[in-house]
């Protein structure tokens, strides 16, 4: 499957099937810090992604010091 990451924007190829929770573990990402988006909507943590899927892993942490 194609996994788009941000900051900087890049695309990874990841073998399926894999659950969202496992995917984020593989990418060493904290589930509190990202959303997984497919086709314009959210993908729940227990969803299984297969090789044909294209998903975006979007960071949610933002902000300056004020």
């Amino acid at each position: 499957m194609k996994v788009q990451l941000r900051n900087p924007t890049r695309t990874l190829e990841v073998a399926g099937p894999v659950s969202i929770v496992k995917l984020l573990q593989q990418l060493e990402l904290n589930r509190e810090s990202v959303l997984v988006i497919r086709g314009g909507t959210l993908v729940p943590g227990d969803a299984i992604l297969d090789d044909a899927d294209e998903v975006e892993v979007r960071p949610v942490i933002s902000g300056g010091s004020t």
Partner: protein, 314 residues
């Protein structure tokens, strides 16, 4: 995964609530949390007219949308900071959001209207960019709210923002800042009331709200904020949250409930404290003859503009 409310397929899990939600009930949860924050902290009254500080990011666009959903007369104010392509894209998203909905948006551009931008101000003052950015935004939002007769300034600070600031202030026991770290600051001394209706929502939730509402926000991080302490505190707190869901909520709301009153007598740490007079240039409250914003305008006048490299223009 099924929605806790209706048992239909869920789209998001919120571990600190130990619950999953479908689209409809997640959006309802967000509205309910904002309504509860407004009520619990007496932020707004029905019919209040408010000015939302919008940046084009997820939090400010979400809070604007949520306040409108809850029936408040909420207008927007966007300040163009001059941070290269990042500011260009932020301004475009903000204007498109307002235009699509027909909601009033006031735009101020630091370079066009006041002769400087954040990168240039940071260079001239030899301070971090977030300092000039925060100073500029606070002054301009306060001024616009008072001039426009608004009842309050609304900012998009969320639970993660507040917990991270609290974490930093606690690490250094900044009593004066702790005394002011409240979700609502009443109007006083020529300053408008300031409220933070998103304090009961984490930023994963505000981002999810935008995705599910089809709000096209700026996802990229401000290139000037990259690597700052605030982001480091957020990452540290998220590591704790992952191991112990609910920690950020307990930390922040525990502070408000049990610790904040103990700091109430600490002297204010900013220029909003012991205001003795008004700025001779703009008339804003100031402890000096000239307020910090007008001094910044003076210092940056004629300075060679800083041209950002790839980070601000990519």
């Amino acid at each position: 995964m099924k929605c806790r409310v209706c048992r239909e397929p869920a789209v998001i899990d919120i571990r600190r609530h130990n619950a999953n939600f479908c689209v409809e009930h997640f959006l309802r949860l967000c509205r309910d949390q904002v309504a509860k924050a407004i009520e619990d902290f007496h932020m707004l009254e029905p019919g209040d007219r408010v000015l939302v500080a919008v940046s084009g990011g997820k939090d400010s666009l979400a809070v604007w949308d949520l306040l409108r959903e809850l029936g408040y007369e909420a207008d927007g104010l966007y300040v163009g900071l001059g941070i290269g392509g990042y500011s260009d894209r932020s301004g475009q998203r903000t204007k498109a959001f307002a235009e699509e909905r027909g909601w009033p948006l006031q735009v101020i551009d630091l370079r066009d209207d006041h002769g400087y931008d954040v990168p240039t101000a940071a260079k001239v003052t030899k301070r971090v960019p977030c300092s000039a950015c925060g100073l500029s935004k606070r002054h301009l939002f306060d001024r616009a709210a008072l001039d426009g007769g608004y009842d309050a300034v609304v900012t998009g600070h969320n639970l993660d923002d507040e917990a991270a600031v609290l974490f930093g202030n606690t690490l250094r026991w900044e009593a004066e800042y702790l005394a002011r770290q409240l979700p609502v600051l009443p109007a006083r001394h020529g300053f408008p009331r300031k409220v933070k209706p998103l304090v009961r929502l984490g930023e994963r939730e505000t981002a999810a709200y935008c995705v599910l509402r089809g709000i096209d926000y700026v996802v990229e991080e401000c290139p000037m904020a990259a690597g700052n302490k605030h982001l480091g505190y957020k990452e540290a707190l998220n590591a704790i949250e992952a191991a112990s869901p609910g920690s950020k909520h307990a930390f922040y709301f525990g502070f408000l409930d049990r610790a904040a009153p103990r700091f109430a007598d600490a002297a204010p740490a900013s220029g909003e404290g012991e205001v003795l007079g008004t700025c001779s240039v703009c008339g804003s409250p100031s402890t000096n003859d000239t307020c910090a914003f007008c001094r910044l305008v003076e210092r940056t006048a004629g300075a060679q503009p800083v041209v950002l490299t790839a980070k601000g223009s990519s």
